[in-house]
């Protein structure tokens, strides 16, 4: 068991005590599910069912064109009652398929356990992963089969499983590893097979000693798989930082992990892969932590995709009082939603609810150049410089200072004593730079 970590980053309070000891609870299956047609990075899917059509659980109801896409499946059996644009946890409005649950829980008939999961070829594994609609479940929602597909001239040498879970409040991966350790390891083996490599690393932060123990037990006797305990630091779970922590390799600027021979997947993704291959199940369910001082009883839920946040909150006994904000995801990188009638999607690892408090309002001050943001940036950028360039609207200069390399982890803003919304300024710069580059490309 080695210990490695990356440079930069910040130490966050965990806020995990509330839920890390709680077993996974199956969430109430709602009467209606709202399945967004965009649950992955890439163009949204088009519906392949019509309003009024009866669907089975696990039936494909939306698919997209091209390679970087992932189909969506019905998470309950029932009737499609509407296809409408609704708010999405990603901060925008997206077409959703609304299914009224007939409570029959009837599986699509093609879905059944596979008898020979060990004999599948890499191509077959990727095909199953694609058909199951599996995307990165840590939150990035990048279609998994794309990651596992070979790239000309690049060879995967290590598969890194991300069991870091560095976001405060979120314990879903932690519980998953405790309760489905075998599945995690099995999924890892399938992924390793699909990318044709013999080495697998499961990276877990040392604030989860029980998970490390369980995973080590599960992995013992499996050749090529190693569990790594990583020091607790944010954003250890960011892909590039995790690769560095586990392998000492640096993903080059603008490059993909495969450039250094690494494929990264979340432990949740690994379980989904295992379930898709062994049982034939598409991705219609995931583990989610509901946490924060705004909910009465925080919990780890196993929840169907398409369940509204409000359903989960109700199951947890409702709000503790007037609430300030609801965050889809963790507090560092998650997005706030303006209503609780937002559906759970494949990438929803958690929902955090903040209670309204009479807190002192912090005003933005002039930068005092304390350089905490510079020291904290895991990408070695100078957030304060980028902020100043963004304020002056010097987008080209910002690009030259690698604004696009920002992974939006928020470490800089977290540590800033002047309370400058650094990340927001950098995001503005990225927005403009991307627009300028797109305009250039179109010319």
């Amino acid at each position: 068991m080695k210990k490695g970590t990356f440079k930069g980053g910040v130490h966050l309070p965990g806020y995990k005590d509330m839920t890390q000891g709680l077993g996974i609870v199956t969430a109430v299956i709602p009467d209606k599910v709202y399945i967004p047609l965009s649950q992955h990075i890439g163009a949204p899917c088009s519906p392949i069912v019509q309003v009024g059509e009866e669907v089975k659980k696990g039936q494909k109801i939306g698919e997209g064109k091209g390679f970087v896409t992932a189909p969506v499946h019905a998470s309950v059996s029932g009737k499609v009652v509407a296809i409408e644009t609704r708010e999405h946890p990603g901060g925008n409005f997206v077409p959703c398929i609304v299914i009224e649950n007939d409570r029959r829980e009837e599986w699509e008939k093609t879905i059944k356990p596979r008898s020979n999961p060990q004999d599948l070829s890499p191509e077959e594994i990727r095909k199953i992963v694609f058909e199951a609609g599996i995307v990165g479940m840590g939150g990035a929602t990048f279609p998994a089969h794309v990651k596992y597909s070979p790239v000309e001239g690049k060879k995967a040498e290590v598969v890194v499983l991300n069991g870091v879970e560095c976001e405060p409040y979120i314990t879903s991966d932690h519980r998953l590893m405790l309760e489905k350790a075998e599945r995690v390891v099995a999924g890892l083996q399938y992924i390793m097979k699909s990318v044709d490599c013999s080495k697998g690393v499961i990276g877990i932060e040392d604030n989860k000693p029980d998970a490390i123990e369980v995973m080590e037990k599960a992995a013992s006797g499996v050749p090529g798989i190693e569990v790594m305990s990583l020091p607790e630091k944010y954003p250890q779970g960011s892909e590039k930082q995790l690769i560095y922590s586990c392998t000492g390799r640096e993903v080059p600027v603008g490059g993909l992990p495969l450039a250094v021979g690494v494929v990264v997947s979340n432990v949740g993704t690994s379980v989904a892969v295992a379930e898709a291959i062994e049982e034939g199940k598409p991705l219609i369910e995931r583990i989610l932590t509901l946490n924060g001082d705004g909910v009465k009883s925080p919990a780890n839920y196993s929840v169907r995709v398409g369940t509204l946040f409000s359903d989960l909150i109700e199951q947890s006994g409702g709000y503790t009082g007037e609430i300030e904000k609801i965050i889809a995801g963790g507090p560092m990188m998650g997005k706030t939603v303006y209503t609780d009638s937002v559906p759970v999607i494949k990438g929803s690892s958690g929902v955090v609810v903040y209670k309204k408090k009479e807190q002192e309002v912090f005003k933005e001050r002039d930068c005092v150049r304390c350089a905490r943001c510079v020291d904290g940036c895991p990408q070695f950028l100078e957030p304060t410089t980028l902020m100043k360039l963004a304020k002056r609207q010097q987008w080209e200069e910002a690009e030259k200072n690698y604004a696009l390399n920002c992974i939006e982890c928020g470490s800089c803003e977290y540590v800033c004593p002047a309370r400058i919304p650094l990340l927001q300024y950098i995001r503005r710069a990225k927005q403009e730079i991307t627009a300028i580059n797109r305009a250039k490309a179109n010319k």
């Binding site: 708010e87 901060g91 925008n92 409005f93 303006y338 927001q424 300024y425 995001r427 503005r428 927005q431």
Partner: protein, 296 residues
Amino acid sequence: MVYAVISLAVMGAVFGVILAVAGKKFAVEVDPRIEAIQKILPGANCGSCGYPGCSGYAEAIVLGGAGMSLCPVCGSDVAQNIAQIMGASVDEKTSQRNVAQLMCAGSTGKAKPLYKYEGIQDCKAVALQYKGPKVCNYGCFGLGTCVASCPFCAITMGEDGLPVIDREACTGCGVCVRECPQQVLQLAPVGQLVHVRCSNKDKGKDAKAACEVACIKCKICEKNCPEGAIKVVGDLGSSIAVIDYEKCTNCGICVEKCPTKVIEKQEPVDKEGCRNTDEIAAEASTGCALCGACKE
């Protein structure tokens, strides 16, 4: 004394010759017209002409044959002057300048809020969060990106959360129009006093639900306009009342008839023509830049 005269004279001569030779051999041909044109341009460097600043435009006119009336800030007299310098004639530009108009009346309290926004005060940033903080997806966010962008300081943020355009100071350069992520600002001739202060193209019911002062596509204005100048254009679910500025006579009947009071008539401004370029330059200039170039 004799030496003084001789040596100084010699030095003077040598110096004169060197300078004369240098002047001949290395004279950089600067077209005097560029300077002349640059002088009459406003010098605010807003970039509305599509060239990098006023000097860039002046150069483009002389060297690149760019159009002579591209400066939206200047009036026809300036274009005429440029033409005179270039020894060409120019098409008569409309003598009325354009000014920016806000096509939204959804002030705080009238437009329903969707959420409470906290973060940097920049419309483009808030646009990423559920298309802005109001239920209406077409309206003004009120975070003042236009205010910051105006090179002439003609826009201020009103107390009701909507920007106020000083139509006297506005030069119609169009920078704010380009910067507004909601495209809720438009250029219109300064003499056009009647405007539809809404951009919501949703169905009447939805629009009304989002904002008290929304165009509900009732077509009352269309029916009442004596000139046929106002029409609800677009398909069902994506339509809005639009005034044809060519036809509109500012009679104000639509203003009275509109049930949601979304059509508004402004007071006329004193000066309709283009603003004096010297005046603009005085406002826009930051004084001597001390580049040292003037000492050359």
